[in-house]
Symmetry: C2
Subunit: 313 residues, 2 copies
């Protein structure tokens, strides 16, 4: 499944930016002044390419983008994992975001194809990793940024940045736990696949408040979601929103405890999920700036490309 | 799948005790002085009987037990759920355990067949339910007992009892979360179905300590279990024990916060899981008395039977 769009322009192409994730490919032909000249998307993520190969997939997308031979290509994401195209070893924290490009590896192939590294918090007591999000972080922060960045999703990330340097981060299995609990646990009886309760309504806010007040109680709150319905206090249609509130509230409570409260918080992720987090974080007193996730990736790839090839490419 | 054992005895049978759960049937022919005269076990739990009927299953087990016609029968567990044989409505907390029998319902059939009720904490802010465990609580406590009871399992229960009265309880999805996370999440890559690390070894104790120190951090600790292996700090063989430690530690931390620390703690459940909890709770400074779960059910059914039919039956 691929799609491509092109827009003609006078400014010459500078490089191809690729966000190559576990289950998706997103490529952009970028102009020297950072504009998107063409876009090509597909579902050929790392899992797909691990068997069929990465080079042919990239070639197809370059053709769709209309990229000329010799245009340099910069990739971020799971294509650089050990089980990806070629391993771009993790940079270890603490590390400056504007030094990301120094950890890029070059693919042994025709042309100039590079993959940005992920970040690792290589501490036995707080081991953590990211791959792809580091590029978004570079995209949404200034070189002297101090504050927190929150990236909601399957594996939500919270990142503490001091003067442009990533000093600590933590990953929460929020999105994935929502899926496995709703599908495979006894709560499958209590959560409708498409709940009729609005995602940010009362059940969500109550779940959020419960978790923020007693974040250690998640595994009890999960059972109570079911018990509330058995005892007639709540409807099944409200289950999904409450489950979402409990998991997001637990994440936020722990992240604030772990990373402290910063004045400035950048939120990467628009759409429904981004709005849920924005409301929750604003209620916690944060000054939230939200940025679209793809925009963040593109901007980060653009900054790293300038660091590698110079602004004149 | 059923099995039955018989032992002849001089003391006449008094009643039949049945623990009828979601997926199991356990029946005992009891003598007037509380001894087991025969036992019959099967996998015909509530889920099985909901379609095939409860009465025929009971009749078969009574024949295996060699029970005489007219022997009274007392049942606890899911057979009394709304979707069971006949609903024995929940008794609401606070409630005395020695009043359980007052909530028993009588089945409309030949002979004297009764089902004990479950307990409900019918509060909108702390909804919770149990069915089957209330009988074990009766079994392991004296009429004036004050303290905590912990019942580990798929849905672990912590119960606060004051002078023989259940005043509060909470259920933790500990066992079920272990299964769904180990089978259906990204941690399937990090947890061996049969880990080679001893269940109560260093990885378990570290997981326990991590959760007790930061119980709000469960959803981050889960991802770190995977990250620790990616970064070479831990082996996959240790994953199951660490996951178990994280979940049990989170449960204990929240239960102590919710119910306070009691001098006296009764632990229902022997075997491997019981030993893990016993070690963890003893390390927390509790004076733990462990009782086998089946023994607890039988004793509870015995006490309730005397309350219903008198000691002379």
């Amino acid at each position: 499944m691929t799609s491509a769009t092109n827009s003609s322009g006078e400014i010459p192409e500078a490089f191809v930016a690729v966000d190559w994730g576990t289950s998706s490919f997103r490529g952009w032909l970028m102009s020297a002044n950072g504009e998107v000249r063409a876009e090509s998307r597909g579902s050929e993520g790392m899992l797909h390419c691990a068997s069929s190969g990465f080079a042919p997939v990239l070639r197809d997308h370059l053709a769709r983008l209309g990229a000329r031979d010799g245009t340099p290509i910069l990739i971020c994401g799971m294509a650089g994992a050990r089980q990806g195209w070629a391993e771009a070893p993790y940079l270890k924290t603490p590390t400056r975001l504007d030094a990301l490009h120094k950890g890029a590896i070059r693919i042994d192939a025709q042309g100039d194809i590079r993959i940005l590294p992920g970040l690792a918090q290589a501490r036995a007591d707080q081991p953590d990793v990211m791959r792809g999000e580091e590029t978004q972080l570079l995209g949404v922060t200034e070189p002297d940024f101090t504050g927190l960045v929150c990236i909601p999703g399957t594996h939500s990330k919270w990142v503490k940045i001091e003067a442009g340097e990533v000093v600590a981060f933590s990953t929460y299995m929020t999105g994935e736990l929502f899926s496995v609990i709703a599908q495979h646990s006894i709560l499958a009886h209590a959560v409708e696949p498409a709940g009729s309760s609005p995602a940010d309504g009362e059940p969500f806010r109550e779940g959020l408040a419960t978790a923020l007040a007693q974040p250690a109680g998640l595994t009890a709150s999960l059972f109570r979601l079911r018990a509330a319905q058995l005892l007639g206090f709540e409807q099944r249609a409200d289950g999904a929103a409450r489950l979402s509130g409990l998991l997001i509230g637990t994440e936020i409570a722990d992240a604030l405890q772990r990373h402290g409260r910063a004045r400035s918080l950048r939120l990467i992720g628009a759409g429904g999920l981004g709005r849920l987090y924005q409301a929750a974080l604003t209620a916690q007193g944060f000054d939230v700036t939200a940025v679209d996730a793809e925009e963040a990736s593109r901007r980060g790839l653009g900054k790293a490309a300038i660091n590698i090839w110079g602004a004149q490419t």
